[in-house]
Symmetry: C2
Subunit: 135 residues, 2 copies
DNA sequence: CGGAATCCTTTCCGATACTG
DNA sequence: CAGTATCGGAAAGGATTCCG
């Protein structure tokens, strides 16, 4: 009966962790913010509603797939609204919800820290890479 | 000569975007924070230095590989220091640098937003999923 | 104890083609 | 215009094994 006990214990720990993380508010939000494009979309919508095609152009380099996926995610989380105007051709506008707007200061906090400390981070990287160039 | 022009244009846009992103301080920092384990490690080190094994136990569910990788990343960015005590067995302590500590308020900002608004996000998700259960 | 190196699965994401 | 559906390569990440 003792076979795989260690592996099973680890499995259970991981399951417990996964359950914990699934519950943890910070982790859920962080996972959302972590998404490569989320903050860029939020920033793009900060000032005014935008059409899909506007976002596509504003956020240079985003693929259509990722843009749509990101927008769906934000819509699901109640951070943006999607408004369809059934004209010809179709027009779709996205805009931040009040909830979405409350997230902007957080994004700004990250941005501010970045701009303040990025030079130190870069210097640290150079020093680190210089110390161990081979790795 | 006009063959693949569209694809080429897209490639160039993506390259330009990638170059832009590579330069952008906010993106660099966000990429770092985005890392699944970075904030957890920072939080674990907030109050006191910790040994590797302590971190491993505190941050339940992290694999040895990811923990080491995360710590190396933070060390490279000048956010934590790594101190080796050459006893038997070896002892390694990690602690936040002053720079690393300046990041704690940002992490807290995310945490605060999360705890304040997570119920709204969850409600939005339920509503969204209820409206389109099939997808 | 604190890793490094390897393998191998899963997940991400861009490219492409098609639709209302 | 604003998507959806699908596929294949790349990358992330877990499990395992070995070392100072």
């Amino acid at each position: 009966m003792a076979t795989m006990t260690a592996a099973q214990r680890r499995d259970q720990e991981r399951e417990a962790y996964n359950a914990y993380v699934a519950e943890c508010p910070s982790r859920q939000v962080l996972d959302a913010l972590s998404d490569k494009w989320v903050t860029l979309v939020l920033t793009a919508l900060a000032d005014a509603p935008r059409r899909y095609s506007e976002l596509s152009r504003t956020i240079a380099g985003v693929s259509q797939k990722m843009l749509t996926q990101t927008l769906r995610l934000l819509e699901r989380d109640g951070l943006v609204t999607r408004t369809i105007t059934a004209s010809v051709p179709v027009r779709v506008d996205y805009q931040l919800t009040p909830l979405g707007r409350t997230l902007l200061p957080v994004v700004r906090a990250i941005k501010d820290w970045s701009e303040t400390h990025i030079s130190e981070v870069r210097a640290a990287r150079v020093a680190y890479d210089h110390a161990a160039p081979g790795t």
